[in-house]
Structure formats: C-alpha cells, structure tokens
C-alpha cells in the first residue's frame, strides 16, 4: 500500500512539472490536490501543450526541450527539493509564483525556473541531463530521478535548416536509402528471373505438326504471358501496391508485399526488354543452329538467349535505376524507404523545402552512381575476349 502511494506521488511530481513551450499562455494544468481520491484524476487531467498538440505530460515529453520550463516547489503540503547538474541548463534558486490556466480557472503555483543556458549545436547532438527530486512523504524520504533531453534548435534560414535536417536525421536518410537500394536491387533481380519465364512463355513456338493438346497448352501460356505484361505495364505501380497490400493484405507484411509488387512490375518491363533483345539477334544464327539439327528450344537456350540477355543488360540495368526512383510509391503502403523517411523528417519540423531538396540530391546521387557503375560493367563486358594461349 505504502509502495503504491509512493509511486503515485512520484507520478504526481513528474506530472507536476510544468513546461512552458513557446508561449506561457499555453500552460494548462489541473488544480493541485493531495486528496487521494483525486490523485488519479489529477494524473489523467494534468496536461500541457507542446508546440503541436495537446498531451498528457509523461517522461518522454521532456525529451524535446527547447525553451525554459518550470518545476513545482510543492505539491499540497509536501515540499519538493530539486537538484540539477548540467552545463546546458540552470536551476533557479529563488521561487517565484506563476499563474496557470487550468480547467477551474487561473491558479497560482510556486515554481522554480529552469533556464536553458545554451542550446546544443546540431553537431553535438542531443544533450541529456538529470533532474533529481527528493521529498518527505509519510515519514519516508523519496527520491526520484528524471531525465530531460535538450535538442538542438533548427534555425530559421534555409542553409541552417538544411544543415540541421541533414545532420540530425542523417541516420534516417541512410536507413531509407539503404532500404530503397535493397528493394530496388532485389526487386530487379527477382524481376529478371521472372522475366525469363514470361519471355519464354511469350516466345513459345507453335509448330504445325504438334499434337492438339500441346498446341492449346502453348496458346494458353502465350496468352497468359502477354496478358501479364499488358496488365503490369498498363497500370501504375501505386495502384498495384495498394491493390496487393490494402486490397489483399498479401504476406501480412508490407515490406514483402512491396518487394513482391516491385518484382512483378519489373518482370513485365524486363520481359519486354529481353523480347526486344531476342528479336535483335540476327535470324541467320537461328537458321544455322536449326540447320545443324538443334531444336528450337536448344537454339533459344544456347544461342539466342545468351545474346539477347547480353544485349539487354544496359536496359535491364536501367530498370534498376528506374526502380530506385519508382520505389518511392511504396510509401503509400507504409514502407519507410527513402521518400517516406523524408516525409517523416519533413513533418518533424515542417521544414519541407530543406528535406525534399536533400532527398532529391540523395536520389540523384544514387541514380548517378549506379548508372556510372553499370556503364563500367558494360564496358568490361564489351571488351573482346581475352586472348587465351592457343594449343600449340
């Protein structure tokens, strides 16, 4: 019982801390009351305004300190002794009385002012300090430790804002970029593999002397493959993603579902690329292969396909680059790839211009780098075969 009361009291003190954020007129607290019955109510009603919304004061609210705030000196009859050691904040020594706008009207509260001496720079990052509250309650001495976090403040000008956004949220940008690259790469690879099946289906050769069953099966496969390509190239990926995630809840996991959509979408495009690659292999080689007794599928496998793939590689690489940009639509199904991370970051301080400019530069960096790497790889592949020692 005693333990419970103690805990409640700690809560009360914690909630009793009044933080004035931006405007002191926003301060809103319930009337102080030591009556046990109303303690819970007080906890529930003790609220304050942050700059954005109206919330109950809890420990983590102290993690976004950017302006001076006040600590209650007493709660009913109980006197609270506060201690604070920090180079960034200073605890006042003189108590003062401030007016708080509560539901029952304005009340006067005795407080100690905590002044922020220095806002940490964005390069130093967040600064945590400890607040120690000690008091006597029912002949027991109680100590409660409370942590506050001072966050660097975003400056009003563009350059300051951009620097702040980039440095403070660097890890979020990196996380997003890695996810974007990951989804794009895996999606392109899976898409490529799927495309091999699709293009095989699309280019099936139906011969005059085949059995009826085999002809019909081949017809169906051809139609299905064509339809697949038409559907996936003919609808926006954002619609596909929404359909599979919100509509079907595929895999019960947005990330897997997103990867699935990117793979299927890419497969349709790469299938068309490879089909073009197949058509670009001169028919003479097919004829030579056939005249040497190779079957259609052997010709495809050993002669046409390898060349078609090689010819298609630049375009397939380009699909990867396109995916880096297009996976941004996966934000719609709640995947925190680069674009969605940026939206989150932009929302934190309403610094849209800076955040979106930064992400544009990151995308540009990614696509440019990947394109350059792919070009290098292409050059390698295009070099004439190394001269091997001849056998004599």
């Amino acid at each position: 019982m005693l333990k419970f009361v103690k805990r409640v009291l700690v809560f009360i003190i914690a909630f009793g801390i009044i933080i004035a954020i931006q405007s002191r007129d926003d301060i809103y607290a319930s009337e102080v009351n030591t009556d046990n019955e109303t303690i819970m109510e007080a906890i529930e009603e003790l609220r304050f305004y942050s700059s954005y919304n109206y919330q109950t004061l809890t420990e983590d609210k102290l993690s976004q300190l950017i302006v001076d705030f006040y600590l209650p000196v007493r709660y009913g009859d109980v006197l609270i002794d506060w201690q604070l050691e920090s180079e960034y904040v200073e605890l006042g020594t003189e108590t003062e009385t401030i007016e708080i706008n509560s539901i029952t009207g304005y009340v006067e509260v005795e407080v100690l002012k905590v002044t922020i001496l220095e806002v940490p720079s964005v390069f130093k990052g967040d600064q945590v300090f400890e607040l120690l509250a000690s008091f006597e309650y029912l002949d027991e001495s109680v100590e409660y430790s409370y942590f506050g976090t001072l966050v660097p403040q975003i400056s009003a000008d563009f350059l300051g804002g951009a620097t702040y956004t980039l440095i403070r949220y660097f890890s979020l940008f990196v996380e997003g970029a890695l996810l974007t690259i990951g989804i794009s790469l895996v999606g392109t690879v899976i898409g490529f593999v799927l495309a091999l099946f699709i293009v095989t289906g699309k280019t099936l050769n139906i011969k005059d002397f085949e059995s009826k069953a085999s002809k019909i099966t081949k017809q169906v496969i051809k139609k299905v493959s064509s339809l697949y390509v038409i559907i996936f190239r003919g609808t926006p990926m954002i619609v596909q993603a929404s359909f599979f995630w919100f509509g079907l809840g595929l895999f019960g996991n947005a990330l897997l579902c997103g990867l699935f959509v990117v793979s299927l979408n890419t497969a349709a495009y790469i299938a068309e690329i490879i089909r073009g690659g197949i058509q670009s292999v001169d028919s003479g080689q097919t004829e030579a292969s056939k005249s040497l007794g190779m079957t259609g599928s052997q010709t495809m496998r050993y002669i046409i396909f390898p060349q078609a793939i090689k010819n298609s590689l630049p375009a397939i690489g380009n699909e990867f680059v396109i995916n880096i940009k297009d996976t941004a639509v996966l934000s719609v199904i709640g995947i925190f790839e680069l674009f969605n991370q940026t939206r989150k970051i932009a929302g934190m301080h309403y610094r849209q211009l800076e955040a979106y400019l930064i992400v544009a530069l990151i995308y540009l960096f990614l696509t440019y780098t990947v394109s350059s790497i792919l070009r290098q790889v292409e050059k390698r592949l295009d070099m004439p075969l190394k001269e091997l020692p001849s056998s004599n």
Binding site: D282, G284, A288, S289, L292, M294, Q307, P384, E387
Partner: protein
Amino acid sequence: MENILQINNLHKYFGELEVLKGIDLSVSKGEIISVIGSSGSGKSTLLRCINFLETPNNGEIIFKGKNYVTNQNDLQELRKRISMVFQSFNLFNNLSVINNLCLTPVKVLKKEKKETFVKALEVLDLVGMKDFAYKSTKLLSGGQKQRVAIARSLMMDPEIILFDEPTSALDPEMVGEVLDVMKDLAKTGITMLIVTHEMQFAKEISNRVIFMHEGIVHESGLPSEILNNPKEERTKLFLKRFL
C-alpha cells in the same frame, strides 16, 4: 553410284509468288554439284528447302529412302546429316571459335565433350584456323569466319553439305582461302551442293553443273558442257556476264 538425295517435282510458294516450279534433281553419293543462275532464280530457296529452312509446298525430298516432306516430325534426323554453309557465315556470336564447333556435336549428336574438343582442333587445323580456336568470332575476318563455318558443319560428319554462295560476302582477296578449303573437302568424297558465281571454281570442282532459271532447272550437265558449250539460250546469256 548410290543415290543419296532425290528431289521430285518440288514446288515452293512465297504467298502468290511461285519460286520453285517443279524441281527434279537426283544426287549421287560423293557427287559435287554446282548450282548457277541469276539472282532470284530460286537457288537459295532450293537449298533451304532441302534442309527445311523453308517448308516446301509440294513434291518430294527423299533422303536415303525417306520422304521428309511427309515426315516433318523427323526433320532433326535429316538436319543432323545435311549441313549448310551460309553466305553470311552465321557463326554463333556468343561462342568462341572452338565452342562454335563443339556445341552441336555435344548437344545434338550427344558426343562426348573431350573427344569432340580434340576433333574440333583437328578440323580447325584442316581449315587452317587452329590458332584461332579460343578467339571470339567477332575478331575474325570474313574469310576466316567462313572457314570456321565450314569447320562447324564438318563437325556433324554430314553426308551432304549445302553451300549457299559461300564466297559472295567476302572481299576478293579472301575468296581464295575459302575455295581452297572447299577444294580440299571435295577430295574427301563428301557430297556437296554448291550455289556459286565462281565459274572457274565450279568448273574445277564439280562433277555436274545445274543452271537454274525462274524456278526450274533449265539446263544440267558436265561442267565442261554447261560452262563452255551451253545449249540453251538463257544459259548462254547468263554466262556472257562472266566472260
């Protein structure tokens, strides 16, 4: 001589256009036949029909007693034994020279890899291309490509080789090297059907010359007869261009 290939009343249409208007031809084993005639007379089409790169509309193509026009399910069997050398070489660009030679014996004839490889080197030696075994086909000149193409068809141990203007796409200085290879080949007793515009070569190498005109065999006979003393006006007219 044993008859190896018999063509009876062969017709081929491209849409409305009748390109082969009833070809009759019988080829004996070991015979070397040159096919001459002006462009568009149907020489290539005839050769392409023989290994079914074009499907004949009518007639018979009987190879070793079996009419393949009515047995097109067994085309593979025919193609294994009749190879073709094309005007444009048609080497497999994704494969090195040696692999151009080894692919089909291994995949089609199910030959053992090592043995095929050894044989490929021998055949390349035969056409004077052994030093290029591991090169990419892209690095070869036209004459070299055609010699490799001939080597590739030899790898199948064919009973007949069809040549469709094998030197027409070559620079003049490379024609000789290819013709020399073919002359060597002729001595081995293999059956050859050669579409060519090299009259001197045809005279030297052939047992028989066929003159085609507008889809029919207009005149046929010994090289000396056809090339020196043709009976038909058309043949004379055609040969005038080569004087």
